[in-house]
């Protein structure tokens, strides 16, 4: 499903050149629930950007669903993001002017899904996160946990091959965080591939497998 081989990525921060990823390799199979754990500055965000096709590597090879994507153009990357990847962010990243329903609908519009089909899939997704009753609310009218559930619904409505969650519980209290983790477990049970990025070992532990990143290097840790 996801194969990273010898990925390198450097950033220039002022005068300094930061090696965010240093010959990082990893392998994630379809249907797996994997967490990527590391302290801040370890390169895990860069890893997530590359896996999520938001950024491309300087060198190395990335196969997503068997296709190498490092030579993709912007346009092709946008298409990969649209069809194959569902993002869940720490700060929810809902569009504030749009209602919950419209936020969930947005990726389907970008996929050019027909209106009747969109309606069905948005309702399905909102039902799975138990937010059908609040679908016409704006994000500002929802609690943090509810916003994150909308974000998850947005990710799953697009029916992606991979759900990529970046610190999904980071902005939530532990109880709400647990609820969100519960949803991820359900999604995993339903056959979705989930990659969860976190700095919190207690969250990382809930995955089947944890991949540790430190100073841009990858190592597996047993749970």
């Amino acid at each position: 499903m996801i194969v990273l081989k010898e990925i390198c990525k450097t950033y220039q921060v002022g005068e300094e050149i930061v090696k965010a990823l240093d010959h990082a390799s990893l392998h994630i199979k379809a249907g797996e629930f994997v967490s990527i754990i590391g302290p801040s500055g370890s390169g895990k965000s860069t890893m997530m950007n590359i896996i999520g096709c938001l950024d491309t590597a300087d060198s190395g090879e990335y196969l997503l669903d068997g296709t190498p994507i490092e030579d993709y153009t912007e346009r092709e990357l946008a298409r990969v993001r649209s069809l194959k990847i569902g993002f869940v962010f720490q700060s929810f990243n809902l569009i504030p002017q749009l209602t919950a329903y419209e936020n969930v609908e947005l990726p389907l519009i970008y996929q050019r899904v027909k209106k009747s089909e969109r309606k069905r899939r948005v309702n399905d997704a909102l039902e799975r996160v138990q937010l059908l009753g609040r679908m016409h609310h704006l994000p500002s009218e929802l609690s943090g946990g509810q916003q994150q559930r909308v974000a998850i619904a947005r990710a799953i409505a697009a029916q992606p091959a991979l759900i990529l969650a970046d610190e999904p519980t980071g902005n939530l209290d532990s109880h709400t965080g647990q609820e969100i983790m519960g949803i991820f477990h359900e999604l995993h049970a339903a056959g979705n591939t989930i990659v969860l990025i976190t700095h919190d070992p207690s969250v990382a532990k809930q995955a089947e497998r944890a991949i540790h990143i430190l100073d841009g290097r990858v190592s597996e840790v047993a749970l």
Partner: protein, 396 residues
């Protein structure tokens, strides 16, 4: 596309005050364009109507070179016998001093012949106009306009009264109605006019001679002005040694086309100035769109992360700029419609109507669309080119 328009409306309505202020430039520009051009068009059509009411069948002939053989009244009456040509009358004006009992006034005397009244479509109020017999016998009769009659004699119905012009005694045989609708009326209104036989004017004047240098021609009923013009030019060429430069024949349609070209230049000029204000409005839109793009950097990042391509983002912001422009345009058009109604009401005494022409509305709409595209493209492109990760991490 429909989605983009919906999103644009949504984001514009999210910040109504700012959107309105942004539109203001476009609104003012559109109003300036539509109102100015409509005013020019309204005035033009009014002038044209006046010309048409004068009759488009009148020709004015000027002779600049008589080739040593002056054109005289006998030439005119000879030409008048030609079947194709209707009526011909000379007109020479001279400023004279008029006296009636103790009243003194300055008056313009026109020396002319009987057909003049028909050619110029003068209306006789009381009495009669000059007759051919008056010209033939050099009689001292005159026809005055209403203003002259009331100013000099104190009443309009002054047939039979004697007035003196430059010391010569004339009997008033007719009074003409003052025609307010005529094109030249603004220049003549309030002026005192007397029409006297051409032959008589030659006698009392120091400058007028038997030589005719200009005269008016009206086509006979059922004859096209152009036919008359052609025939007249033939006759004049024959008379004046085939020298085309010795005379000129101008018609009302020539006057009309002159007015047309003058007013269309005026319309283009004013429209151009208004277009400049529209462009300034467009720059305002570009400015605000750039601010919007910066403010919504994060939103752009989110949209890109969930699958929006560059094209989609570009379209979204471009459509937003165009929607602002078109809304401004619509408000501007309604506004100018209102202003034109107001102007028409205010100047209703002048009998002018200012209608908004469909053409200028179309031009305004097209121009606004163009401005939306031109000035929306740069900010939209800036939005589309943002790297998704930079945009996502912007400000948070």
């Amino acid at each position: 596309m429909i989605q983009s328009v919906r999103m644009a409306i949504k984001s514009i309505s999210g910040n109504k005050m700012r959107a309105f202020l942004t539109m203001l430039g476009i609104i003012i520009g559109v109003m300036a364009l539509v109102i100015l051009v409509s005013l020019v068009n309204g005035a033009t059509s009014n002038v044209k109507d006046t010309i048409a009411s004068l009759g488009s069948d009148m020709l004015t002939v000027r002779i600049s070179d008589n080739k040593g053989d002056p054109v005289t009244l006998s030439d005119l009456s000879e030409w008048m016998e030609d079947g194709a040509i209707g009526k011909i009358a000379p007109a020479v004006s001279e400023s004279v001093t008029a006296k009636y009992r103790s009243e003194n006034a300055s008056l313009t005397a026109y020396g002319t012949t009987a057909p003049y009244a028909d050619i110029q479509k003068l209306t006789v109020l009381v009495g009669r106009f000059l007759k051919t017999a008056d010209t033939d016998s050099h009689s001292f009769v005159c026809v005055v306009n209403e203003t002259a009659a009331t100013e000099l004699c104190g009443y309009a119905d002054c047939i039979g009264e004697d007035i003196s012009l430059n010391g010569y005694r004339f009997t008033i045989v007719g009074v003409l109605k003052d025609d307010d609708d005529s094109l030249t009326s603004p220049f003549r209104s309030g002026s005192l006019i007397a029409y006297i036989p051409y032959t008589t004017l030659i006698r009392i004047s120091t400058s007028a001679t038997a030589e005719i240098t200009s005269f008016y021609v009206a086509a006979a009923d059922g004859t096209a002005t152009d036919t008359v013009k052609t025939r007249l030019e033939e006759l004049l060429l024959e008379r004046l040694d085939r020298d085309e430069d010795a005379f000129s024949v101008s018609s009302q349609s020539a006057l009309e086309s002159t007015i047309n070209s003058v007013t269309s230049i005026l319309a283009v000029l004013l429209g151009g100035i208004a277009a400049i204000s529209l462009i300034v409005g467009g720059i305002g839109i570009m400015n605000i769109m750039l601010v919007t793009v910066t403010e919504r950097t994060r939103e752009i990042g989110i949209r890109k992360a969930i699958g929006a391509s560059r094209g989609v983002i570009l379209l979204q912001f471009l459509v937003e700029a165009i929607v602002i422009c078109m809304l401004g345009c619509a408000i501007g058009i309604f506004g100018s419609w209102g202003v034109l109604q107001l102007i028409t009401t205010v100047v209703s005494g002048l009998n002018l109507t200012f209608k908004m022409s469909g053409g200028i509305v179309l031009i305004a709409v097209g121009f606004c669309f163009l401005i939306g595209v031109v000035f929306g493209l740069y900010p939209a492109n800036k939005a589309a080119r943002m790297a998704p990760i930079d945009a996502l991490h912007y400000g948070g």
